[in-house]
């Protein structure tokens, strides 16, 4: 089992250097221009930072942005660039908002699952599916726009809470659909009917029998959820004026801070790889069938 975990983790983590190199070489080959005839004339400061930060022409140029980062030097221009510590602070802000969003998503899922189990009728799931469909079909920035007049620039972590709420809609809807489908399927199984006929209440049946069988499917959805949270952070932070990692990435792309784009893209890939490896390990711990398959 340990060998399999190691093999799968290595496969996931191998993407990180690939993403780092791919994003570096894509940015390094960009024909950023300083010619006056060009519509997007760039400042000499930006061009200088481009050559300096990417180590163009050097044999180990791809490592230059990382070396600068670890040395605490500024990547990009003086006004729009960022240092390593600033980047880490912004990243921790985004991760904090993401963690709260995940908690909200689990709350929506639990509430909807509660309704399905409590009513235990197929008809109860139709309006829930409709709610989930609207949530899944609404772009993050649309929900953020709804809250922006009330939450933007209010302080006291109100914008952060609003961003977490907005980010939780899509993952919450996805998780709710997944859990509802899985719970409904499990509730129809013989072992559940046996447990109920032996006198266990709905909640005891749900907790002791249904939830352990639904958990593996939930863990499989962790990576798409993390991806959705990261993707949603760009728009949510931009609309609500949060100066965290999502906003940093968008501004770096808009202002051609290419070294920042390289580092930020690689950091995103690292986070998702870490989440994927963790989910895989949790799955092996939580699901005895996965352990049996891996040792077979």
């Amino acid at each position: 089992m340990i060998g399999l975990v190691f093999q799968r983790s290595a496969r996931r983590l191998a993407f990180v250097p690939i993403v780092a190199l791919a994003s570096y070489y894509l940015m390094a080959t960009l024909p950023l221009t300083g010619e006056t005839e060009s519509k997007r004339r760039l400042s000499s400061e930006l061009l200088a930072s481009y050559h300096r930060d990417l180590g163009l022409g050097e044999p180990w140029g791809f490592a230059r942005p990382w070396i600068k980062l670890f040395r605490g030097e500024r990547l990009g221009t003086a006004s729009r660039g960022v240092t390593g510590s600033e980047m880490l602070k912004k990243l921790s802000g985004s991760l904090g908002v993401g963690a709260v969003a995940l908690a909200f998503a689990l709350l929506w899922t639990t509430l909807m699952s509660f309704v399905v189990v409590a009513f235990n009728r197929a008809r109860a799931s139709v309006p829930l599916d409709l709610v989930a469909a609207v949530a899944l079909g609404t772009p993050v920035f649309v929900s953020a726009l709804l809250l922006a007049p009330f939450a933007a620039e209010r302080g006291h972590f109100i914008p952060e809470l609003a961003a977490a709420l907005v980010l939780s809609l899509w993952p919450g809807a996805l998780l709710a659909l997944l859990v509802n489908d899985s719970v409904r399927m499990e509730m129809r199984r013989d072992y559940v009917r046996t447990a109920q006929s032996k006198g266990l209440s709905y909640w005891q049946t749900w907790a002791k029998h249904v939830l352990p069988n639904v958990l593996p499917a939930l863990l499989d959805s962790v990576v798409p959820l993390a991806t959705a949270l990261l993707a949603g952070s760009f728009a949510a932070e931009r609309v609500l004026g949060l100066p965290y990692f999502g906003q940093l990435y968008v501004l770096a792309v808009l202002h051609r801070q290419v070294a920042v784009v390289v580092i930020a893209t690689t950091l995103f890939a690292m986070i998702l790889a870490f989440v994927s490896v963790s989910a895989e390990m949790l799955r092996l711990i939580a699901d005895p069938r996965a352990r049996e398959r891996s040792s077979a």
Partner: protein
């Protein structure tokens, strides 16, 4: 003649979207005066010579066109790669699967932003590579969106190839191409159609997000780009009238495409 439930869902969704597209295109391109003079939401603050209806309703056909074209192109590219990889087998096939995993390693929106940045710079320096912003967006979305269809179609082909009728055809001497065209494709086509439909809302959402952020400047203006340019008006009294129509239309088209694709996919599986 009764219509099967899957075809019914497809028909309803298709008719709704086509009607919206046709209405939006005809009103905004063929007779824009109608939207300009009879708009309940008044003139836009950022473009005072145009009404809110012209901009919002006019963006609907652009967003739908981008979504459908990108979804179709991504599905075709993904299906072609899946078939070729399956035909080649072993190293090529597992290489394709690893490549798909690499594409899943990052969010679509992020890769789309980087591709737009690269493409815009390329066009600035080499005007020969200049393409219309809408075409550029469709190509970018397809480059980002091919991996999911490729993986799903490859897995489905692998499953269908294990069926008895395919084994029987092979035992009778049918070549790979004949098996694919005569036996696998009839089983696969509903699934491929469902995958195409599932890519449409994903493409519309990704394009609208990137346009909203101001990274892509799709012309004619899409719903996402209009929302991105006008959302600041929400902070002012009466600003909601400029944002609500585009908002509602975007949610409506994504909702219709998503529910249609979900129903068709559930019935195709």
């Amino acid at each position: 003649m009764s219509i099967a439930p899957r075809e019914r869902s497809l028909l309803l969704g298709g008719i709704s979207l086509s009607a919206l597209w046709g209405l939006s295109y005809s009103l905004s391109v063929l007779s824009p005066g109608l939207l300009h003079h009879h708009c309940l939401f008044g003139l836009d603050a950022t473009w005072p010579d145009r009404s809110v209806c012209e901009l919002a309703f006019g963006g609907l056909w652009v967003s739908l066109t981008i979504g459908v074209a990108a979804g179709l192109l991504a599905t075709v590219v993904g299906a072609t790669i899946a078939v070729l990889a399956r035909r080649a087998g072993s190293v090529v096939e597992s290489g394709m699967l690893r490549l798909c995993d690499a594409f899943f390693a990052l969010p679509d929106v992020l890769v789309l932003m980087v591709l737009q940045l690269a493409a815009q710079n390329l066009q600035d320096v080499y005007p020969a590579f200049k393409v219309a912003p809408m075409i550029l967006m469709i190509i970018s979305l397809s480059l980002v969106g091919w991996a999911a269809p490729a993986r799903m179609i490859r897995n489905r082909i692998a499953t269908v190839e294990e069926e008895d009728f395919v084994r029987a055809a092979r035992a009778l001497g049918a070549g790979w191409t004949h098996v694919l065209v005569a036996h696998v494709w009839p089983v696969l086509r509903a699934y491929v159609a469902a995958i195409f439909l599932s890519r449409v809302p994903a493409a519309i959402l990704a394009e609208s997000t990137v346009s909203f952020l101001g990274i892509a400047r799709v012309e004619p203006m899409s719903l996402g780009r209009y929302l991105g340019a006008s959302f600041g008006n929400l902070l002012y009294p009466g600003g909601a009238r400029m944002v609500l129509p585009a908002w509602f239309l975007l949610v409506a088209i994504v909702f219709i495409t998503w529910t249609t694709s979900r129903r068709v996919l559930a019935r195709a599986e």
